[in-house]
Symmetry: C2
Subunit: 165 residues, 2 copies
Amino acid sequence: MTDSPPGLDPAQIEAYFALMEAVGLLEHQVEQHLRADGGISYVQFQLLARLAAADGQLTMTQLADGVVYSRSGLTYQAGLLEKAGLITRGTSADDERATLVTITDAGLALFRKVLPGHVQVVRRQLLAPLSDQDLHDLGDIMTRVRDHMRNEPPRSAAPRKRRQR
Amino acid sequence: MTDSPPGLDPAQIEAYFALMEAVGLLEHQVEQHLRADGGISYVQFQLLARLAAADGQLTMTQLADGVVYSRSGLTYQAGLLEKAGLITRGTSADDERATLVTITDAGLALFRKVLPGHVQVVRRQLLAPLSDQDLHDLGDIMTRVRDHMRNEPPRSAAPRKRRQR
DNA sequence: TGCTTTTGCTTCGAACTCGAAGCAACTCAA
DNA sequence: TTGAGTTGCTTCGAGTTCGAAGCAAAAGCA
């Protein structure tokens, strides 16, 4: 490999730009639907989805896992969801610090109500123009990229844990 | 065709989730770098990039084109960029309503300063785990998806005249 | 010409996000 | 046991986003 080429070649730029813009548009569509159909945001939908899938209680940390958002943002959203009666929060018996989050019947009902429409949006906006081969390729590629990024150190903002070395 | 199947099959879910999470992570990395290296946000970087590429003046509307953000958000960001001396705004002679935006030397300099690092982040986070074939596939797929979504009507944001269920 | 509608942008208020700081509970080694 | 360090979550403040409403210029139309 050469030492840091000047820029990106056309194919790289195209892939990068198309990727970012397409996902931006998709997020926007999804957001619109969820807001109109269930009065919730994408973040809230994802939280409900996690709880519905977990089929039990999750701590705040587990709930945030995989989501980029900050802890404080999660606290805020959890507050909204609790106020809306979609989840309940309680202190864990095992660990007094931990907050256990449980989805309520109303939360589950709302999730089930908006899910079909959500799937429909994803189908129409993302899946529609893709062949089975495309779908396979996309899943394979993005899974690899995601796993790669999960393992990459932040480079700049180093975690303030203990010094190593 | 069948009437809206119950959900998504595993391959579809995998592709959808991996896509959304990977892009989320990438955006986060990019944001971190730009903030640390140039003191600007991703949005501001994109605006500067557009202006640098346009090599002249753009109206606010042209500047927002392709970016999902609202007009008011663009006004806000343009205000910040102008305050920072990276762009200038002036009224168009042709159309008194239009605001023409021009990138300053300082803006261009800043853009050029952060670009290499930005490219490096994209390389390391997104491009690194991809083969030439992957890159080609990804560009092809996402370009198709993006163009598809650009042409799709909003679907959901329609006037809510109809009763629900 | 007058009038309505459309277009381009801004202002305003509400909502959302993040990081830093703070608090309380837990862990672990001495 | 005890005290330093870590972990889980919340609070707070600053910054950013959006949509609705508003304003002025332009375009359509009678």
